[in-house]
Structure formats: C-alpha cells, structure tokens
C-alpha cells in the first residue's frame, strides 16, 4: 500500500520537487517569467542535497551547461519560457544528435517575441516538436494540474534517461503559477540511464547493442575516453560524411522513440464513452473544457473531453479509438490554431473538426467557452 501525503504547492514549485525526487542534481537557467520560480527554488534546494545550481549568462549557455553536466552522469534540468525557449533550440538539437538526457521545462507565455510576458498562451506547441532544425525525435509532456507538474517532471527525467534524449515539459502560465493541494505517492519509479559495463573501455558510445535504438551511455571521467559530436557520426562517435551512416543514425534516433510512441503517449478522457461532441484540449484549457463537457451533458448533449498528456508523441491511436461515436471534434486552444492541425491530421476527415481559438493573453472562462462550443455544435 502506498501512503499519500498532501502538500499545497505552486506548479513551478511542484516541478522542482518532482525533479529532486527524480534525482536532479544540476540546474542551469536564466530568469524569465513565468518560469523563474523553478530557477529560484532550484538555487535554494540543490546545494542542500549536494547538487549544483548556476545562473548562466543566457538561455543558450544554460542549455549547453545542462548538457555538459549530463555528460558527467548527473541528472540535469533547465527551465525557461518563450524567448528563452527559442534561444535554447540549437543546443536542444545538439542533445538530440549527441543523445544526451536532459529535461527542458518551457512555461508558455504569449508570443511572438517578448509578447505578453505574464499572460498565458499555448503558442509554442509546434516549437516543442520542430523548434530545432533537422529531423529529430521529440518527447513533450503537458501537465494540466499541479500534481501533474510534479509527476510529469519525474516522468520527463525517466523518459530522458530511458531514451537518451532531451525531454520537454511544457505547460502554460496558469498551471505554472496556480496553487493546488497535491497528494503525492510514497513511491515513484525512477529510471537511470543504461551504462556500459565498468571497464569496457573499447565501448562504442553510439552502437545500438540492445536493438532498442538506445546505446548505453558512459559518464565522462571514468576512463572510457569517448568522443561526442553534433556532427553526423559513426558508432564510435566520430564525424563521418558517409551517406549510409548518416541515414542509419537519423533513422535510429527516430526509431528509438517511435517504436514506443504508443507507450510514451498518455492522455486522459472525461465522459468519452459515447461522446458525439469531442473536445480536445490541453494544459489549463482542458480544465475549463471539463466544466463545459459536464454542463453540456447536464443539458442533454453527449459531450466528452480528450486531453493529451503527451503532446509529442501525440496519443494518436487513443484519440482514434475514442472517435467511434463522434460527430464533431472541437479544439479550443490559447493560440490561433496549432493543436487543431495535429487533431485534423489524425481525424483525417472521419468527422468535422472545429477550432475555437483565443489569442488575447487571457484564459477561457467557462461560460465563454460553453457558449462558443454550444454555438459550434448548433451550426
């Protein structure tokens, strides 16, 4: 029996506590609203447990520093928002290519550019998938409660360690700044990266010896003397111009996440059994949408809510399964239409998809969203 304890936490605070629970011992960041509490709390807590915090000169440097730290075998995290997430992109790509586990938290605010620094938005959904150049795997978790901020941060570390890849934990300002009572479990599974056998110094750092697409990873400083580069490389980690080796590498990077996409992808459903009107929403919008679905049911409309908890990989098969009774899929989001693109791709014309977009820097209020959804259904 796992015992539960209740804490009253802010979303960003829960993120740091989850990270520490997962074993984070290094944090590098640069202040930016609405993510700064994550850096602040990390700076307070890390030295108490023998971990290390550093405020770097910018977000590019912060991203570089967490990758460097992870190369020594330490679990590392950085946190940012909009403009900072843009700056991190090149080195996120480096972590994909060099297969370095790190967690990148991005708390969405209104963009583009400096935008509305303290206002919620969901405009960076595609950036979390394709923000860095080139083909690359992407894992992005989207919490919609404070409890999920805690638990998904642990999961973000677990997935990054398991797949040797950067994992993005992304949500909107509302979830980051709100406070909720959180019941934590006593036990959470913690995953550590695979390592080569001690003393196996002829180890090939990018050889897929287990066939799961994930080579074991040695820490620096233990005698393996291995080379890591962001250039396309062979199994020994050295740059190569070989077309075959390049394609093999890119396909393996894709495969290691794709093969488990349905296992990585998670979601929640609410009143979905016989739902004819399916709301798809994430982050803070899913909370409003839940109220709307409940009210619609009370008024005799068979509405339900599907909430992706991983944005990338998207819970594609699950969404398809839940559309058997669907007449209409409605996608409310705090941007001018991003999640809807993925939903349309999956629904593929099997029923109509309607977007309810809001880009004012404000939340949906329940009445407002109810009226808009009712309007769309009535059309």
């Amino acid at each position: 029996m796992s015992e539960e304890k209740v804490l009253f936490l802010q979303g960003n605070e829960a993120c740091v506590l989850g990270a520490l629970r997962a074993g984070m011992r290094f944090f590098a960041g640069y202040p930016i609203t609405p993510s700064s509490e994550i850096a602040e709390i990390s700076s307070i807590e890390l030295p108490k447990v023998g971990g290390r915090f550093i405020q770097m000169e910018d977000e590019i440097a912060s991203m570089a520093a967490v990758i460097g730290a992870s190369m020594t075998g330490v679990k590392a995290m950085t946190a940012t928002s909009g403009p900072g997430f843009s700056l991190k992109q090149e080195n996120i790509g480096f972590a994909c290519m060099a297969e370095v586990p790190v967690v990148v938290v991005s708390i969405m605010r209104m963009g583009p550019s400096t935008g509305l620094p303290t206002s919620p938005a969901q405009g960076d959904l595609m950036q979390a998938r394709w923000g860095t150049h080139g083909d690359h795997p992407a894992i992005c978790l989207i919490p919609s409660s404070v409890k999920e901020m805690y638990e998904f941060t642990i999961r973000a570390f677990n997935l990054s360690e398991k797949y040797r890849t950067p994992v993005i934990l992304m949500t909107d300002e509302v979830i980051a700044h709100m406070r909720e009572g959180v019941k934590l479990q006593e036990n959470y599974e913690i995953i550590e990266r695979k390592r080569p056998a001690p003393g196996a110094f002829n180890y090939q750092p990018f050889l897929d010896i287990d066939g799961d697409g994930v080579p074991p990873m040695a820490p620096y400083g233990e005698g393996y003397k291995f080379h890591v580069t962001g250039l396309s490389h062979d199994e020994n980690g050295f740059a190569t111009n070989s077309p075959e080796k390049n394609e093999k590498l890119l396909k393996r990077l894709k495969y290691k996440v794709d093969k488990d996409a349905e296992e990585i992808a998670t979601y929640s459903e609410y009143l979905m059994e016989d739902a004819e009107y399916v709301l798809v929403a994430l982050g803070s919008v899913s909370r409003t949408a839940q109220n709307v679905a409940r009210q619609l049911r009370a008024n005799g409309v068979k509405a339900g809510l599907f909430t992706p908890k991983t944005l990338w990989p998207f819970p594609e098969a699950a969404l398809k399964r839940h559309l058997s009774a669907a007449k209409l899929v409605i996608v409310p989001e705090l941007n001018l239409g991003q999640l809807v693109l993925e939903v349309e791709r999956i629904v593929k014309g099997s029923c109509e998809v309607k977007l309810i977009a809001k880009a004012s820097g404000e939340l949906f209020k329940t009445d407002e969203l109810y009226n808009q959804v009712a309007g769309v259904i009535g059309e």
Binding site: F26, V49, E57, G68, M71, G221, H227, T229, F238
Partner: protein
C-alpha cells in the same frame, strides 16, 4: 616524457586541416603541457566549439565534447560544475571564442571557473573559407572584406584580464616553447586561464593577404612579434607575446563546494 603519440588517436588520421595549418603545432604544445604535468588522462575532458581548430579534440585520446559554434565554454562550465574533479580544457578558434562565443568568454573569465582555454587565433574564419573575424586586423582582406577590413580587433588578453581571468598569456606557433609553458601554467592555475595561440592560416588568410606560404607566415610572426613589457600593449602594431595576468582569486566551483558544505549538502 611519454611518447606524444600516446595521447593521439592515430586511427583518426589523416586530419582535415590544410598543409601548413598551425593547429597541429598548438595541439603539440598542449599535449606536451599535459604530459609535463602528468595530468590523469582519464580525468581530463576536452571541449570545443565549431571551426577547423575545434576539430582538434577528435584527434586526441580523451573524453571529448565537440559542441555548437561558440558554445564550448558553457558546455565546459556544466561539466566542471557537475564534476569539479575533472580537468576541463577548451580549444576554440578566434571566431568561435570572440564573435559568437564572446559573451560566454567574458562570463567564464568573470566567474574564474577552473577551465583552461586555448584560443587558436588564425585571424580568420577558416572553416567557412576566409571571412573576417573579430581578430582580423584592420585593413586586412577577407572574403567578406574584399575592400579591406574596417572592423577593429579585440585584444583578447586585455579583454580576458579585464573580465577577471586569473591566468592570461599569448604565444604563437612560432614561439612553441613559450606556448607549451604558458598552457602548462594555465593548466596549473586553479581558475580561468586563457592562452591565445597566434596561428597561421596560409589557405585563407595568408593567400588573400599575400603573406606567402607557411614558412613565410612563420617568419612574418617572428618579425612582427615582441615580448611583453609591463604596461606596454601595442597589440595593434605588433604581436605582443607574454604573460599578462597571473594572480590568485576565488575559484567558482570551489566557492560552490564551500556553499554545499555550509548547508550540509555534502553529507
């Protein structure tokens, strides 16, 4: 003295550098400095950015991280912070270190983090075939300065000294003995050390500026350099060789370790 080849990855040869390139000379000096100090090669990490010079770690037998353009120092900072036991050495080009990586350079100096950085200054962007860099002297020619460069150059020792580095020196591929000694002293310094290695790029800088072949460029360095005399820094007129800063200041990771101990985090 060990055979310097023991530090090299001979199976990675031939290297990518042009005939006459100065990079090999700088690596030779670095290896001899590492060897003279008997650094534990299992505990020594090489970090570089992007450029011809940044390919050096690929030919040397150490843990190595070949990163993104200009960002070697923040990667190295993460390595050193997460495991202060490691000797961390950064190899960078003049564009890598002083243009795209310039901000990281001054902040690494300011923190006085125990990293030794060797900047190979060939006065040009070599890898991208000869555009001007922040170290291309005013008036010189480059593919993006065919009318003569109007930019002024950085004086890296003054920059790093002002920013707080505790060991700063300059030598050249002609002054190889000094180069090795300065790198060695940089490695010994518990703090941020910057050693500028004035180098040659016959292919892109030499040819366009009619400085002749590699031997002629070595000669050019010899004839245009002078030893540093306290207070005289005519770097825009001559190549000033010498030690500019050698002092003691609190080292960053040590200060952080003390904080951990104060908070009981080491238990």
């Amino acid at each position: 003295m060990n055979n310097t080849l023991e530090y090299m990855r001979e199976n990675r040869l031939p290297h990518i550098w042009c005939p006459g390139c100065g990079n090999g000379t700088v690596i030779g000096a670095l290896i001899r400095a590492i060897d003279a100090l008997g650094l534990d090669t299992n505990k020594t990490v090489l970090v570089s950015g992007i450029g011809c010079s940044s390919r050096a770690p690929g030919y040397m037998k150490f843990d190595a991280l070949h990163t993104t353009h200009g960002r070697a120092l923040p990667f190295a900072t993460g390595i050193k912070m997460a495991n202060p036991e490691l000797n961390v050495i950064v190899i960078s080009g003049d564009g890598d270190a002083a243009a795209i990586g310039g901000n990281h350079l001054i902040h690494a100096c300011r923190r006085n983090i125990d990293i030794t950085m060797v900047i190979i200054n060939n006065n040009v962007y070599g890898m991208t075939s000869g555009q001007y860099s922040p170290l291309t002297p005013t008036g010189r020619l480059a593919t993006t300065a065919v009318y003569g460069n109007i930019d002024r150059t950085f004086d890296l020792p003054s920059l790093c000294g002002a920013a707080g580095a505790t060991y700063v020196a300059r030598a050249s591929v002609y002054h190889v003995a000094q180069l090795k000694n300065y790198i060695q002293k940089g490695l010994e310094n518990k703090g941020f050390s910057m050693i500028e290695a004035v180098s040659i790029c016959p292919t892109y800088f030499g040819r366009r500026n009619k400085l002749g072949d590699a031997p002629a460029m070595f000669n050019w360095i010899k004839e245009n350099s002078t030893m540093y005399k306290q207070g005289v820094m005519e770097y825009d007129k001559q190549i000033v060789i010498g030690e500019f800063v050698n002092k003691k200041d609190p080292e960053y990771t040590k200060s952080y370790t003390e904080l951990i101990e104060k908070l009981g985090g080491n238990k």
